[in-house]
């Protein structure tokens, strides 16, 4: 059954079976949107729409051509026509004739489209109902086969043709664009037609900055050249150093400095060896300083007070202790000699006084 069934399959089905993989494969590779596109509209609608578009383009082209030609004539005869156009009122002269011709064309096209559509339906009906004798059927089938072969060849050739057309357009479009751009004042266009403020509002500057490689930019800057071009004196004159210094919290800065580390890195010996101490000393008025210090300090008075107090205390201590020692020795000796009573340490004068006193 499958073999017989395969033999019974009409020729156009084979063609369609052959062309399907080509369409799907080529279409998927070249223009993906075409595979997902809806099925094409009926032929008559295509024709009608094509004619309408062609007429519309012709109309626009004609209007643009007329406009350009009238502009070349100068501003004065042109002004009235422009005013009439703006108000949509009736035109005069050549524009009137052109408009009439276009109106006729539109009507003709509309009728033509309807006619084509009707003829197409009738032909479809006749062809579908008419009997097919062998003398008719055979040439039709032959013609169909030729058409199918030609179609298949076209489909095979299509990618190459499209590629060639693409190459041609790639070369042509830049030249056309250049020519167009030469005629346009882009600055004026942007200024009048682009809302720059809105564009700028929509720009995420933070993201832009994130994507910038600032290190590389800085590395490309010739800082020396920039600095040489700066008038540093003028810059410095405009700076209020007092105000800046007043805003600096020096204590906080110093607290963050590792002074020990800094000092440990300083070669104090080398620093000291570079200091001309003799020159410093020569510039000092040592005599004057010393005299000033001596004048400030009443040295003699200090020495006198210190010596006086020291002498008094020391001498007093020595006298008392030696006096006690005298008495101790005397008592000891008296005890050894078995003397009774206190030793007569009284001076003769004192004893005489005692004797003289009543």
């Amino acid at each position: 059954m499958p073999d017989r069934g395969g033999d019974d399959v009409p020729p156009h089905n084979e063609v369609s079976r052959v062309e399907e993989p080509i369409r799907s494969g080529e279409g998927a590779r070249i223009v993906p949107l075409r595979t997902a596109a809806p099925p094409p509209p009926p032929f008559t609608e295509l024709v009608a729409q094509s004619i309408r578009i062609a007429v519309g383009i012709a109309t626009l082209a004609t209007e643009a051509l007329v406009d350009a030609v009238t502009r070349t004539l100068g501003p004065e005869p042109d002004a009235g026509a422009e005013v009439a156009d703006e108000h949509g009122g009736p035109a005069a002269g050549f524009p009137l004739l052109a408009g009439a011709a276009l109106g006729v064309t539109v009507e003709v096209v509309r009728w033509g489209a309807r006619t084509v559509e009707t003829l197409g339906r009738i032909a479809e009906l006749v062809l579908g109902l008419a009997p097919r004798p062998a003398f008719v059927k055979e040439p039709i089938e032959r013609a169909t086969g030729v058409a199918e072969r030609l179609d298949a060849r076209w489909r095979e050739q299509r990618p190459h043709d499209e590629e060639a057309a693409g190459d041609f357009l790639r070369l042509l479009v830049p030249q056309v664009a250049d020519a167009v751009l030469d005629q346009l004042d882009l600055n004026e266009l942007v200024r009048t037609r682009v809302e720059i403020d809105r564009l700028v509002d929509g720009v995420d500057v933070g993201r832009v900055v994130e994507r910038l490689d600032l290190d590389e930019i800085v590395a490309r800057l010739d800082l020396n050249a920039i600095v040489q071009r700066l008038d540093l004196n003028a810059v410095v004159d405009r700076i209020s150093i007092d105000e800046i210094v007043g805003r600096i919290d020096v204590d906080r800065i110093v607290s963050r400095v590792d002074l020990d580390g800094v000092v440990s890195r300083i070669d104090l010996d080398a620093v000291a060896s570079r200091v001309d101490i003799e020159a410093v000393v020569r510039r000092l008025d040592l005599g004057g300083i010393a005299q000033e210090v001596i004048d400030e300090i009443d040295l003699t008075e200090i020495i006198r007070e210190a010596m006086g107090s020291m002498t008094n205390e020391t001498v007093g201590g020595i006298r008392v202790q030696s006096m006690n020692a005298d008495r101790a020795i005397s008592r000891l000796v008296d005890r050894v000699l078995q003397r009774r009573g206190d030793r007569d340490g009284t001076s003769s004068a004192a004893s005489q006084d005692l004797e003289d006193s009543p």
């Binding site: 030696s322 006096m323 001076s347």
Partner: protein
């Protein structure tokens, strides 16, 4: 205790200080002589040769002069000033010059006589007994009373006895 006769310790310390003063003076005299010699002949300078006999004689004479002058004037030398002692006549007046000189000679010749005051019931040294003098505590910095003036012990002192 002011006015009482001094004991052996005070007197010994005072004499020791006086001896040191005399020895220092002797050394000073030696260096002065050397300096003068250096100034006169710097190139031929040499330290003066020391002779024990000469030095001893010089020191002895210096000691006698020092003690005589001190005792005959204020009754005290530097050592006795430090210890608050004064050499006076038995009646408390200033010792005359000749007796001061005699006491100085005796002290310089027979210093050990000082220690008789240890056993003397009157705190008198041999020199005191010979010259008829006495050594008393007297801390006040003033001259001893003269023969005509009132006696020493009757003069009131501003300081209480220690």
């Amino acid at each position: 205790m002011q006015g009482r006769r001094a004991g052996v310790i005070s007197r010994f310390l005072a004499d020791a200080i006086d001896l040191i003063v005399v020895l220092a003076s002797l050394a000073a005299i030696y260096f002065v002589i050397a300096g003068i010699r250096f100034l006169i002949r710097p190139r031929a300078f040499s330290w003066p040769e020391l002779s024990a006999l000469n030095l001893g004689t010089l020191g002895w004479i210096l000691l006698i002069a020092y003690l005589t002058l001190g005792w005959a004037n204020t009754g005290r030398t530097f050592g006795k000033t430090v210890l608050g002692l004064r050499v006076v006549d038995l009646d408390g007046t200033r010792l005359p010059f000749w007796r001061s000189l005699a006491r100085a000679v005796l002290c310089a010749a027979f210093p050990i006589g000082l220690f008789w005051c240890v056993v003397s019931s009157q705190n008198a040294s041999v020199q005191d007994l010979i010259v008829r003098s006495e050594v008393v505590y007297d801390w006040e910095p003033r001259l001893p009373v003269d023969h005509d003036a009132p006696r020493f012990a009757t003069v009131p002192t501003g300081r209480s006895p220690a």
